[in-house]
Amino acid sequence: MKTPLARPVLPTLLFALILAGCGGGGSSGLQPQIAASAEVLQPGDAGYERAVIGSAVKAAGQGGVSEGMVIRIVQDIPVWRMWNGPARLDARGNTNRMGGWWSYDPPKGTVQQYRAAYEICNGWNDLTWVAKCTLKAGSIVVVGPGQSVSAQTCGDPTGLENYAANPVDWQLYIDKPWARSAELVCPDASADYEADPAYISASQEERFRTQP
């Protein structure tokens, strides 16, 4: 009989959600999926300034995170970033594989869901490829829930493209990752995969193989 189990389960679930802050975390304030891998630093702690929290936390409508914590990673964790892929080079031969914004949750859902979850304007990133790197123990970065992005920030004169703040899918801000190769270790770009827009946790090839 399943019905009687519902009562004891509900308070337990509510407690767990409260403990987790419905997107926040336990006593550290971190989300459960990262709480065991990081410690929170306070202003004045050694290395705190390296996170450059002022570049991550922004006002409503401006992107970034709405509030941030500076953390030191205590054990290596995988981090993900979506980018435009190796074929999209600018005039200087550069790609956007490296940048400040990452997630510790693997990409999931559709491209549009991901774009909304991480508040990424169409003009900023095509979100077609997925890079998986390792944030090494000792790294000091900022973590927090995504801030809203206004249509003005997106550059959309119609006002249609805008994104709400998201307290659930937290983001990592790694300041100047291109200069921190000992902290953010990435495989060669050939290890990245081109995401299926309808199912970004899998490559297009994998999706093709698994579909009837």
């Binding site: 300034e49 790609t95 490296m98 900023w124 920030t153 100047k176 291109w178």
Partner: protein, 132 residues
């Protein structure tokens, strides 16, 4: 201190954003730009901005007849210019290299931009400084 002197003094400074009337050309704080050169061609001011994640070839931000320069801890701001351009504007980084008609692309800069853009601080070409 003249505008020119103030601009030259800003050489070497890094900016985490490039904004035109509040429109963020690239995702804020995703990249870092260093002001590497300040040149003048007639009435046009050319700012060489190096994307610090890439090779040392600066993109050029051009402003025709810019006015209202402010250089502060918050960044570098021009109140207005007659025309604005950004060469090779991250063609590979989400922004189409040519997007005629877009309000930020080579647009006459007399009007305040999209609705709401005339709020204080947004009617500007703004390169915010990196905040600590």
């Amino acid at each position: 201190m003249s505008c020119w002197t103030r601009l030259r003094a800003a050489l070497g400074r890094e900016f985490g954003e490039i904004r035109f009337w509040g429109f963020a050309v690239v995702r804020p704080s995703d990249r870092s730009w260093r002001l590497e050169s300040v040149e003048r061609e007639g009435s046009t001011l050319l700012l060489g901005l190096r994307d610090m994640a890439g090779p040392p070839l600066p993109a050029l931000l051009s402003l025709d007849r810019p006015i209202g320069l402010t250089v502060s801890a918050h960044g570098l701001t021009f109140e207005r210019a007659v025309r604005l351009g950004f060469t090779a504007i991250l063609a590979g980084c989400g922004w189409p290299p040519l997007r005629p008609g877009h309000p930020a692309w080579h647009r006459p800069l007399r009007d305040p931009g999209p609705a709401g853009a005339d709020a204080a601080g947004l009617r500007r070409i703004f390169l915010p400084g990196r905040q600590r």
